[in-house]
């Protein structure tokens, strides 16, 4: 047994996690057209959200966080969500990550209906399908950059040896320009470097979807631009769809689409790249 109880991996898991490519990534290799949900052969969306409401009960009164959300994101597409604080951006991201459950509606990610998955299945879903980049990096402070990244691969691919995971992690860190920082702990890295480690960690298991919660929010403009460039390049190379929350219009402008969230409504979905 090479997996945690209750979270059995699909049979092709090692192939996926080792980056031997899933269909979406093969199709998305190399071109902007391939990334666009509108162009080329029709593909099943990686995200298909329909009729989703998310309501909290605050002191006995309902607080509507998200209302009747409809969203489809194609494989390898980059979508930015913008909107004022408290508009529901992060809540939507959490629904997409399977960290919160919608009050009603359907949240399909990577073909899985997240509203129906058990806690263990959701863990498996995150392991196989998702990468997350946080605003505050959230690296494990006691681990080196190498171990922080390798850990994600170990969790995603329990059959790997430590050596294999670390080798892949070193390559991923090299890909984000941190080949000379492998054995540094987070405290010894700059903010930009920490976020690059966070990006490598999110991408090492070749996820089909990358969720990024204000990835440049704690970085200066120049460093943020470098990190975003890296993120987009990696995503394009791996055919990974990206949903990005940001307050930065310049960053949003680099996405394939910009979605605007206002008071719980996803009011606009604008394709920016024709």
């Amino acid at each position: 047994m090479n997996d945690e109880p209750g979270t059995e991996a699909p049979k092709d898991q090692s192939a996926q996690s080792l980056g031997l490519a899933h269909p979406a990534s093969q199709k998305s290799e190399g071109g902007k057209n391939a990334r666009s949900g509108a162009a080329g052969a029709p593909q099943a969306p990686i995200i298909a959200v329909s009729g989703v409401n998310y309501t909290l009960d605050i002191a006995g009164r309902p607080l509507h966080i998200l209302r009747n959300i409809e969203l489809a994101v194609a494989p390898a597409e980059v979508a930015a969500i913008v909107g004022p604080s408290g508009s529901g951006k992060t809540s939507l991201l959490m629904l997409l990550a399977g960290l919160e459950r919608a009050t009603s509606g359907k949240v399909m990610v990577g073909g899985a209906d997240l509203t129906r998955l058990s806690e263990d299945d959701l863990a498996m879903f995150r392991r196989k399908t998702l990468g997350i980049v946080f605003q505050s990096f959230h690296l494990i402070p006691s681990l080196t950059a190498l171990d922080n990244v390798a850990l994600a691969l170990e969790i995603a691919s329990p059959g790997l040896t430590v050596g294999e995971a670390r080798k892949a992690a070193a390559e991923e860190l090299a890909a984000v320009g941190l080949g000379d920082r492998l054995h540094h702990r987070p405290a010894a890295l700059s903010g930009g470097e920490q976020q690059r480690v966070g990006l490598a960690r999110a991408m090492i298991a070749k996820p089909r979807l990358l969720l990024a919660d204000e990835p440049t929010g704690n970085l200066d403009q120049k460093t943020g631009a470098v990190v975003v460039e890296l993120m987009f390049n990696l995503a394009r190379r791996q055919g990974t769809a990206v949903v990005l929350i940001t307050h930065d219009p310049a960053l949003a402008a680099k996405a394939d689409r910009v979605l605007t969230m206002t008071q719980g409504d996803l009011v606009e979905a604008t394709p920016v790249h024709a």
Binding site: A97, M124, H138, I140, A165
Partner: protein, 852 residues
Amino acid sequence: MRWVWASIRIGLLDMRGDFRRFWLLIACLAVGTALIAGVSSVGASIKQAVERDAAVLMGGDLELTRADRPATASELALLSSFGRLSNVVDTNVGAKANGRDAFVDLVSVGETYPLLGRIDSPDLPADAQPYGFLSLRDGRFGTIVDPLMLDQLGAKVGDTIEIGGTPFEVRGALRGLPDAAVRGFRLGLVAVINTEGLANIADMTSPLPGLGTWFRYKLLLNPGLNAETGKPAIEQALGDATWTVRSARDGLGPMVRYYDLFMRFLVIVGLASLLIGGVSVWTGISAYVSERANVIAVLRSMGAGRARIFIHFFSQVATLAAIGVGIGLIVGASTALIVLPIVGDAVGVNLPPSLHLQPLLVAAGVGLLTAFAFSYLPLQQAQTISPVTLFRSKGLAAPPIDWRALVLSPRIIPLVLAAAGFLWLAVIMTDDAILVAAFALVSTLSVVLFRIALALAGTAIERSPEPSNRTLRYALRDIAGSGSNAPSVVISVGLALAMLVVVLALEVNLRQEYLGASVFDAPTLVASDLFRDEVEALQKLKDAGADITAFTATPMLRGALTSIKGKPSTQYTPHGPEASFLLSGEVPLTYRTELPSTSRVVAGAWWPADYQGPPLVSLHQNLRSGLGVEIGDELTFTIFGEEITAKVSSFRDYSWQGGIDFLATFSPGVLEAYPATLLGAVTAATGREDAVERQLAKAFPDVRFIAIGETLEKITAALSQLSLAATLVGGLAVGNGLLVLLGSLATGRRQRQADAVITKVLGARQSEVLLVSGVHFVLLAAFAALIATPVGIALAWILTKVLLEVDFTLNSGTLLLIDLGAIVITGVLGATTILKGLAPRPALFLRELGAD
């Protein structure tokens, strides 16, 4: 299983930076485990030695004793048919040399003594039989005597001393008798002679009345017989209940019972200490998990399942537990190796330094189970931490435990199994399931009681109007505020206090049980045949100076028990030495108004001081079965030719007979009319014994004062070692409580420091902030003491009175001091936890806070 190893590896890597924070947790586990390992090892060694050396300790498989006469020729022949026989006669006589006196515990040995073991004396050749070594030589019999007696008499080996008026040559200094462990506590210093020498003693009068002579026969049974089968066979063959037949186990009974009680007590203290240490594990791991919420959330966000989170932290706990338990085992085993010979000396059993695997494994088991049980729930909570926290804020803790859901889910099973394993190991250690069950019950009830009391107090604080005193108001706000460490401080201080009360009570009461009564109240010097004017002079001497702390004069007269419950006593067969002595003819009797301090009533009641009713008599407790009498039965004594019938009103237990206590004591108004001699008992102030002895010898040249202090010193030396052991064990256990307290004080310290620095920035004086913090912790400790003191007393009472079947007393003054000490220590330590926030430059601290 690769993912398991990967989880363990990452878990251990994750702990690296935080290792130092766990020293408290490791120390608590180490102390608890060390206590149990050490105590269990010593207990196992004693048990093994008693089982292995029982016959040697007894000097044979069986011992037959009677007090009225030696065995007849036919009885000797009968006994010899069961195996090899040797005889010993124990009595008390006086000794003299160089114009000085000594009080002798005379051991007269027969030709074949000892059947097993040997008399320990550097002067006795290895191949020599004591009987021959002590036989008539150059017109004198020989004796081997206690070196203390040589000092007392100013004599040395080779000198001649008088024993019972007959000259004996001192042929050796006595280090020990092979059967000393079964002789019990006897007054006087030991001198060994042979039975031929005994027959030649001119004056067999005991310096103190009522001590009696004991004829003992040791029997090494023939092959095919053992103590269990041989004892009833011999009792049946003799057909005379006056003989007391004891196996080695019976003989060692009081000693073994005491040690058994003592060891069980220490094991219970060790277990309690470990459980209190468990509180430290709980608070430590809870705080750690809480601070690690971020890491857990990151792992969960990457898809780590509950099992992985559990293993990640469990590997850390297991490592810490292994270190703590390992240190505990090493310390416990080393301590056992060091103290075994010392304890052996105290018990009179040879205990070479050796270790037993089982007690160490059991100690390791309870240590590890404690660590597991107390970390299990925090680890379960760790699994419920959601990655959502990473998006919303940092460091959100796990949700509170849903007890109902936990109890109804299979997740409770490991906890139940751990608790069952803990109790099972405790039963193995104590061999007493009821004791363990009671321990488990009272421990659980104590914690529940603390929680209920805390909840009630919290509600009371909320509903009460705020006090007008500002310091008190702020302190109460801190206590009732969110994130307060009140529960953990109250529980840790309370449990430590409750245990301290239990340790003190058990130690005192077991010490008293050891000797049956308050041995330490026994006098330093006793004198017989005092005249009234001498008694008055002694009383004046006592009143005049501080050297004599107590003086009592007891009338003594002789009488014979002639009728029991209306039947002539000659028709009764006495059972046991006390009964046979009482029926042996005229014996010393006394009358008293007050119960002697060295006695305790075990049944019935002592008469009031102004009692004027019909004659009553109080008997030694062994006469109850020895004579077959009960409270209210009538006994008739013949005193100076007149018959006096008295009702039995009480049975007493006491350690010292002969001028201090008597087998039969009458109520006032019965014997006063008869001529009686007076026995005086003088107690000297500690350290002034020799001075008092010289003072009395000078003031009363015609009175012979007998020092029994040396005997007591030897016994109290042995007891002191045990007391020291009990105090050390208790001290360590309480120390463990202090460690837990330190851990609980650390809970929320950062928040309190932050509050303190902000209060200071707002303009509060440093002294005011410190005072509020001190009052905060004083209130918590006082509340803990309020609950813990009655809980501790109740616990101690249950343990002593009900489970260990020992009398219960407690010193309220000591209790008060303990409570005050705990309150002050907690207040001071608690106040100091905010010192960092009161540093001269609060900006630095605020910057640190911001960086967290």
